[in-house]
């Protein structure tokens, strides 16, 4: 039993330990907190690996442990560890809030892990709320910024609205299917699918997760929240939270593996608008975080293009892309956290001359941005190739055409940053950046993994096949 929910237990433990640090003196806390949390993060990752091959239904079949859920827990744990690894460098979190910061980071992750296993509607909603509310609290935890309160409220209000929609949708599903269990719904799907109310229910339920994914029309929070939150929090929202959303959307859309034309049309529209709007808005941004926020709206569009195909290749593609997206987004945020030492948000101008100040960071930034733009031989390219080929297989060729043209548009603003980094001159007073061993290792690891996933995707694709195929 313990082995089954080991990752959840370790993350809960992390939450408790963080909470206990509130009682420590600030000095002691400062010294011990971060290493402890980092070790716990590592333990979470290890425990996720240990519990990977478990299979069981718990709590009266409301909580399902299978390869799919465990694989996503592994992805979430990995992503959490990455976020934790950049938490020491930021001055944006003041000493007093640090234990709380880690506390809510852990509870948010716990909620997301529960999301991947929940196979019953109420459990799904509770997990979603646990993850969401923790994140609402994380956003304003930033020292000396007035903006963040506003962003926090914006996030909360939008999030609450999305949650309400989800709950409303769940009530429709329950009302039509007369059951709360996803597998029972799946068994009766052929009769349910023709009920309009059921379709509406599924769409409204997706709203909460499309909100997490920052897809149009649930994206309004993204630019402000990305901009206002401390860099580690933004990284968390931009990476871990996306992975959880994809996991749930796969489960939801898998219910719809029977073709449902109107839902597909709605999703095509969302995907289309998300990528176009995200990319066009990103082009005019000066603030790097806002730019990445809009870029994440566009990326949500690409992900939807794979998800809406509702085939195993589409789900595999979406998961592959999510993993790639985690790495590339993390790499970009890591570079940002490293150069942004004054608790300000870096503008694109701040990257000027990064290649002179630190060739390694500049290279990491370039590789991650080019991968986001979908340039071969990087992971982002291979992921997009899979996503679009899944969409094309279903005959959505216009969406694919729009997608690839969008990739070119996105290249424009990504290249602007690369240009600043490589061609700009460092501002006066900005000397060489000395990187610690951890940053170096993370940089090398990100670059290597983006290239390896791009050139040799076979291993990962095989693994994902073994996870996704049994679902369908």
């Amino acid at each position: 039993m313990i082995k089954l929910v080991l990752p959840e237990i370790v993350v809960s433990l992390m939450a408790i330990v963080s909470f206990l640090f509130v009682f420590f003196k600030e000095e002691t806390g400062k010294k011990l907190l971060y290493p402890t949390i980092l070790i716990l993060g590592l333990v979470t990752l290890t425990s996720s690996i240990f519990s990977l091959n478990q299979e069981e239904s718990l709590f009266f079949n409301t909580y399902q442990i299978n390869l799919f859920s465990q694989a996503f827990k592994l992805i979430l744990a990995g992503s959490l560890l990455l976020v934790l690894s950049i938490c020491d460098h930021t001055e944006s979190l003041s000493g007093e809030v640090k234990p709380e910061f880690f506390l809510f980071l852990s509870t948010a992750t716990l909620g997301m892990m529960m999301l991947t296993s929940a196979c019953e509607l109420i459990g799904l909603f509770i997990s979603l709320e646990l993850a969401s509310i923790s994140q609402y609290i994380l956003v304003p935890l930033r020292r000396g910024k007035i903006l963040n309160a506003e962003a926090g409220i914006k996030y909360l209000l939008f999030g609450a609205a999305a949650s309400a929609l989800t709950l409303y949708g769940l009530s429709f599903i329950f009302g039509t299917a007369k059951t709360l269990f996803l597998n029972e719904i799946l068994q009766n799907i052929t009769s349910l699918i023709h009920l309009p109310l059921f379709g509406v229910g599924i769409f409204l339920t997706s709203a909460g997760f499309l909100f997490k994914l920052a897809s149009f029309p649930f994206h309004f929070w993204a630019p402000d929240v990305y901009e206002s939150a401390a860099t580690p929090v933004t990284t968390f929202i931009a990476t871990t939270s996306k992975a959880a959303a994809v996991a749930v959307l796969i489960r939801l859309f898998q219910i719809f593996s029977v073709d449902h034309a109107s839902l597909t049309y709605i999703l095509i529209t969302l995907s289309f608008v998300s990528m176009t709007l995200g990319n066009l808005a990103a082009m005019i941004q000066k603030d790097m975080k806002r730019m990445l926020a809009y870029s994440s709206v566009a990326q949500a569009g690409y992900l939807l293009a794979g998800l809406l195909s509702q085939t195993s290749s589409g789900f595999i593609a979406a998961t592959f892309y999510t993993i790639a997206y985690l790495i590339m987004n993390f790499a970009a945020f890591m570079v940002m956290a490293r150069i942004n030492s004054h608790n300000d948000n870096p503008t694109i101008k701040n990257f000027s001359g990064l290649a002179d100040r630190s060739p390694l960071l500049a290279l990491t930034l370039m590789i991650s941005l080019l991968s986001l733009a979908g340039i071969p031989p990087l992971a982002g390219f291979t992921g997009k190739w899979f996503l679009f080929s899944a969409a094309m297989e279903k005959g959505h060729w216009i969406l694919v055409l729009v997608g690839v043209v969008n990739s070119v548009i996105s290249l424009y603003y990504y290249l602007m940053v690369v240009k600043e980094a490589y061609l700009g001159k460092p501002e006066s007073g900005q000397g060489l950046l000395f990187l610690g061993i951890k940053t170096r290792l993370l940089s090398y690891a990100s670059i290597a993994s983006l290239i390896i996933l791009g050139v040799f995707p076979t291993g990962l694709v095989h693994w994902l096949e073994s996870i996704i195929k049994p679902l369908l």
Binding site: S313, L370, I375, P376, P377, F381, W385, F386, F388, S389, M392, E393, G395, W397, V400, L401, V404, V405, S407, V408, L411, Y412, L415, V418, K419, Y422, L423, P457, T458, V461, E465
Partner: protein
């Protein structure tokens, strides 16, 4: 693995070695680049020697299953269409490295990126899988951005961005059509030959796919009206990159049209021929006419490239064996010639720090050897018999006059205009009174002489002995156009 992978591995290993070499050891970095590019020339010649021109089937095949469930395989092979292109690439990169010997700014990154670009170029010319084709294509295009933006001159950032966005927009169309071939056409594989064997394409799909690919690849080939990135890009790029770019990279586009579009959709090629011939004719005339108006020596060559690539596109569009042979010949000849052109202009710019005709003049007195090289390149460009430009342009002209007489005549006019702008460029830059600021300029040294001589040797060899090239391409072009697959 076979020899093709060995050729591909040369730049890969070179790039890794360069990345591992300390930044300060500039000499070592240059020597590594020279050795790997030299090795690729040797291997290319070995491959060329092994190549049996009478055999129209693929040779030297290498295949590794990559992602079989998506129909993605690493599959290389050569036939008459690409063996010459591989040879061309290795020659141009080798001479490019020699000519970049003087470079002293960010040497490590420059050579690493240059070799990265070459990986892409070799890859495109070898692969027979559409996924890898696209992958290598992008690998070939993207380093251009940094190479031009960092080491370039004259409005370099603008030119680099314009070039990258144009080329990637072209490749976006290519990407969509490759995916459509994979899914909509029901092939479920990216292997070019398997697709050809297994799939009968719907005529309507063929039409859309052919023109999409023609324009998508055509952007890189400098096809009018999508050529606008090309003169700016050529002018802004540093010498070796201009050589590679105009010499080899533009050929990727034309090669893509032949290898993928023409190969898979021959019927659609016939349907669209009048349209593509018109575009190509515009290329030739427009490029040549605009070149006459340029004041910057490098712009003249940039526009001449547009015009000469038009000859390639025209040759392809005639859909005759003669035309296609001429197009392939012109691809090789133009690759070598334009590399020589840019190598010469690069030296002029390094010495005089200007390329404007108003400021140049009389350079032949001070740098006679370089002037001779430039003039040889110029004479090849205007199609002087005895140099490789003559047979290639002649073949295309013959084919064009037979199939599309109006275009043929326009092309002939284009050749006359070419003669005008090349002769006047030579006159303005190398003859007449010498600007007194240039009293001190030096001619090329023996090493630089060696680099350029290699190129001239090929121009002369193919000029006096075109059979050497035509024997390789003729069987495959005949097979491609005559044999219903």
């Amino acid at each position: 693995m076979g020899i093709l992978t060995d050729i591909l591995l040369c730049p890969v290993i070179g790039m890794i070695l360069i990345l591992l070499t300390p930044r300060k050891s500039e000499k070592a970095i240059k020597i590594i680049s020279l050795i790997v590019s030299g090795l690729s020339v040797i291997l290319s010649f070995i491959a060329y020697n092994r190549f049996d021109p009478r055999n129209v089937l693929l040779q030297m095949e290498e295949r590794i299953s990559w992602l079989p469930q998506y129909g993605i395989n690493y599959w290389n092979g050569v036939d008459g269409l690409n063996i010459s292109m591989i040879l061309l690439t290795s020659i141009v990169i080798f001479t490019g490295v020699i000519i970049s010997w003087k470079l002293s700014y960010r040497v490590k990154e420059f050579f690493a990126l240059l070799l990265f670009l070459v990986i892409g170029v070799f890859g495109v010319f070898m692969t027979l899988n559409l996924f890898f084709f696209f992958l290598f294509y992008e690998v070939a295009v993207l380093p251009m951005y940094l190479l031009i933006a960092i080491w370039g001159s004259t409005n370099k950032e603008y030119a680099a961005l314009k070039l990258t966005l144009y080329l990637l927009l072209g490749s976006a169309f290519m990407f969509a059509i490759f995916l459509a071939i994979y899914s909509l056409a029901g092939a479920h594989t990216f292997d070019l030959l398997t697709i050809k064997k297994q799939v009968t394409f719907d005529p309507a799909f063929q039409k859309v796919a052919y023109i999409g690919l023609f324009l998508g690849c055509g952007v890189l080939a400098g096809c009018w009206p999508f050529h606008v990135w090309s003169p700016d890009g050529h002018v802004a790029a540093p010498t070796a990159v201009s050589m590679l770019h105009a010499g080899v990279l533009m050929k990727l586009g034309a090669y893509g049209i032949i290898r993928v579009a023409l190969f898979l959709f021959p019927e659609a090629a016939h349907t669209w021929a009048p349209f593509t011939v018109t575009l190509a004719t515009f290329n030739i005339l427009y490029g040549a006419l605009v070149a006459t108006q340029q004041k910057d020596l490098k712009y003249v060559i940039g526009y001449s490239s547009v015009s000469h690539m038009g000859i390639v596109l025209l040759g392809i569009s005639t859909l005759t064996v003669t035309g296609l042979n001429g197009a392939l010949f012109q691809m090789f000849s133009h690759g070598i010639m334009t590399a020589l052109f840019f190598a010469c202009v690069g030296h002029v710019y390094d010495e005089c720090h200007t390329r404007y005709f108003d400021e140049l003049g009389g350079l032949a007195h001070k740098i006679p050897i370089l002037s001779t090289f430039f003039i040889i390149a110029g004479l090849t460009g205007l199609g002087l018999p005895g140099l490789s430009g003559f047979p290639s342009e002649l073949l295309v002209l013959i084919a064009a006059i037979k199939t599309y007489p109006v275009s043929g005549i326009c092309t002939a006019i284009g050749v006359v205009v070419t003669t005008f702008y090349i002769v006047s460029a030579i006159m303005k830059a190398f003859y007449g009174p010498l600007n007194k600021h240039f009293e001190h300029i030096k001619d090329i040294n023996l090493w630089q002489y060696f680099g350029r001589s290699i190129l001239v040797a090929f121009l002369l060899l193919l000029g006096v002995w075109p059979k050497l090239f035509l024997d390789i391409v003729n069987p495959i072009t005949t097979y491609l156009l005559m044999k219903p697959f």
